[in-house]
């Protein structure tokens, strides 16, 4: 009887403790995000810091984004052609490739690749800066890490991902063109004119850009918070990096579903 009471008591204690930790984590996360947002305007004035982060997050992600865009476009047009040719509609392959890329694959695949390439690097960098006391050292030098470390990286992600998405989509369309027109013999005029008439600037292109901005916001918040909250040990940093990729990837897919429902349903 006493044993059962003890078990119930310890269950209540652990549940209570987990609940308190959950709320505390949520509060810490919210305060952190608000802190980063409030430091963002001043980070705009530090062009040197912003340019460096744009180079690290944006320019260094270019190879993977451009290569992936080209291959995704090539595969899309190849698969699309094989289906459309049965209905004598192979000229529509340009429209199909462009719409798939602009509405969905461009923002989503670019965001997934970016989370793996730049998001994980951000978390690891900040986590290691914490474990080597570099962030504490900045605070002791009276330099606010929110302004010096977090806000420039937040802005760099917010600016680079939409631009990388546009490049991914452009390269995808180019890949589609090379396969459809150059290899499979689709009429070049029909390829471009059908695409031009069916892809809408506002409904398709703008919605795609809005999606990529939303994904950038999500990845930036997850990557920075995981770095900020990483336990300063090698195991802690590796765990935080993994969480960034997993949470950001699942978050992007879930958010994409919600945004697609709102935009295209």
């Amino acid at each position: 009887m006493a044993n059962a009471r003890q078990k119930i008591q310890s269950l209540c204690q652990s549940t209570g403790q987990s609940s308190i930790e959950l709320v505390a984590n949520f509060g810490r996360g919210t305060l952190f995000i608000l802190g980063v947002l409030s430091a963002t305007p001043s980070a705009l004035l530090r062009v040197d810091l912003l340019l460096k982060q744009l180079y690290v997050a944006g320019v260094q992600s270019l190879p993977i984004i451009l290569m992936a865009g080209l291959f995704v476009g090539m595969v899309l047009s190849l698969q699309g052609y094989n289906v459309l040719v049965d209905y004598n509609s192979e000229e529509a392959v340009g429209t199909m490739t462009a719409l798939s890329l602009v509405r969905e694959l461009g923002p989503v695949v670019a965001a997934l690749l970016f989370a793996g390439r730049a998001g994980s690097a951000l978390t690891a960098e900040i986590g290691l800066m914490r474990s080597t006391e570099q962030i504490s050292a900045l605070e002791m030098m009276a330099i606010d890490p929110l302004k010096y470390i977090y806000a420039p990286r937040f802005l760099a992600v917010l600016i680079s991902l939409p631009m990388l998405t546009l490049l991914f989509t452009a390269l995808g369309i180019l890949g589609g063109y090379l396969i459809s027109v150059g290899w499979l013999g689709v009429d070049e005029g029909a390829f471009w004119s059908q695409m031009h008439s069916h892809v809408d600037w506002h409904d398709d292109v703008m919605n795609g850009i809005i999606k990529s901005v939303a994904f950038a916001l999500l990845i930036a918040v997850i990557a920075l918070y995981q770095g900020f909250n990483a336990i300063p040990t090698s195991e802690g940093v590796s765990g935080a990096t993994t969480r960034t990729v997993v949470h950001a990837s699942l978050g992007v897919l879930a958010l994409d579903f919600m945004l697609t429902t709102l935009m295209f349903n």
Partner: protein
């Protein structure tokens, strides 16, 4: 405190701080006199580094107050605490140099961030600080190319770049060879005297610390157990302070981790063996 009649630079009053269920500090009160080298000593894990972070306002106590230059660091605004930190320098155990900057840029970093001095003046100041720690010749090296001792000296040059009023040393001698230790001991003493600094050294390297400290505080299990001048501490012939200062294996801190009696443990073990052998037969 008896060492200096001037108002202390740092005053800690009834400080209590916990991490989870573990009480790191339990109602500690102490003062750090101006212009002196104060050593805070204690065994590993006694919260010495935590104390420095509390003084710098990087951590918040559960209760109690910490006054730096007469201001309570935990009630002032965020802006004010950053202003106060400009008057503090800190030498971290790892050096904590920014890994993407050269030695020169690391030392120039606080000057570039906090002043609008022309680059030529900053260069002169940086060379002066590097000369003081004997590493002017290493200005172009990256932190990864430095030994542990050199990294600490660069960090020290960076710590004094803004000419602070006080400097905190977090375990400056840990893991250093005898020559580097000697260099660091001399540097701490020289900088304190020539720059008129107030130095706080947290360490458990008894000989090195006692050779330069004007005043010593010993912390153990969350309490301030002894304080006084170097001689007063050395004269403590009994108890924990004696064990700590003289590095004795047994004393108030027992050699054995608390456990059941050794005989009982052995008896249990042989009982299990007998049962096992019976079972197997």
């Amino acid at each position: 405190m008896g060492v200096n009649t001037e108002k202390p630079l740092i005053e800690i009053k009834n400080l209590t701080f916990s991490r989870g269920n573990r009480k790191i500090f339990d109602d500690i009160t102490l003062s750090i006199p101006k212009g002196k080298i104060t050593a805070i000593m204690g065994p590993s894990g006694s919260g010495k580094t935590t104390l420095l972070k509390l003084i710098a306002g990087q951590l918040t106590p559960d209760s109690g107050e910490i006054y730096v230059l007469g201001e309570n660091v935990h009630t002032v605004s965020r802006k004010r605490i950053y202003q106060l930190r400009r008057k503090m320098g800190m030498l971290f155990q790892s050096g904590a140099l920014l890994t993407d900057l050269t030695v020169f840029d690391n030392v120039a970093f606080p000057l570039r961030e906090h002043t609008k001095l022309p680059e030529s003046v900053i260069s002169a100041l940086v060379l002066m600080k590097l000369q003081a720690v004997g590493l002017r010749g290493a200005k172009a090296l990256m932190p990864a190319e430095l030994s542990g001792g050199m990294a600490r000296r660069v960090a020290l040059a960076r710590g004094i770049a803004l000419d602070p009023e006080m400097i905190f040393y977090d375990e400056p001698f840990v893991g250093q060879d005898p020559i580097t230790m000697g260099v660091l001991v001399e540097l701490i003493q020289k900088l304190n005297d020539s720059l008129g600094l107030t130095s706080v050294v947290v360490s458990h390297d008894v000989d090195e610390v006692l050779s330069i400290a004007d005043y010593v505080c010993v912390i153990s299990e969350g309490k301030l157990i002894a304080e006084g001048t170097k001689d007063q501490i050395l004269q403590e012939s009994t108890g924990y302070v004696n064990q700590f200062v003289n590095g004795l294996a047994d004393g108030p801190v027992p050699f054995h981790f608390p456990s059941d009696s050794y005989k009982e443990d052995l008896a249990k073990l042989s009982g299990m063996t007998v049962n096992d052998s019976k079972g197997s037969v």
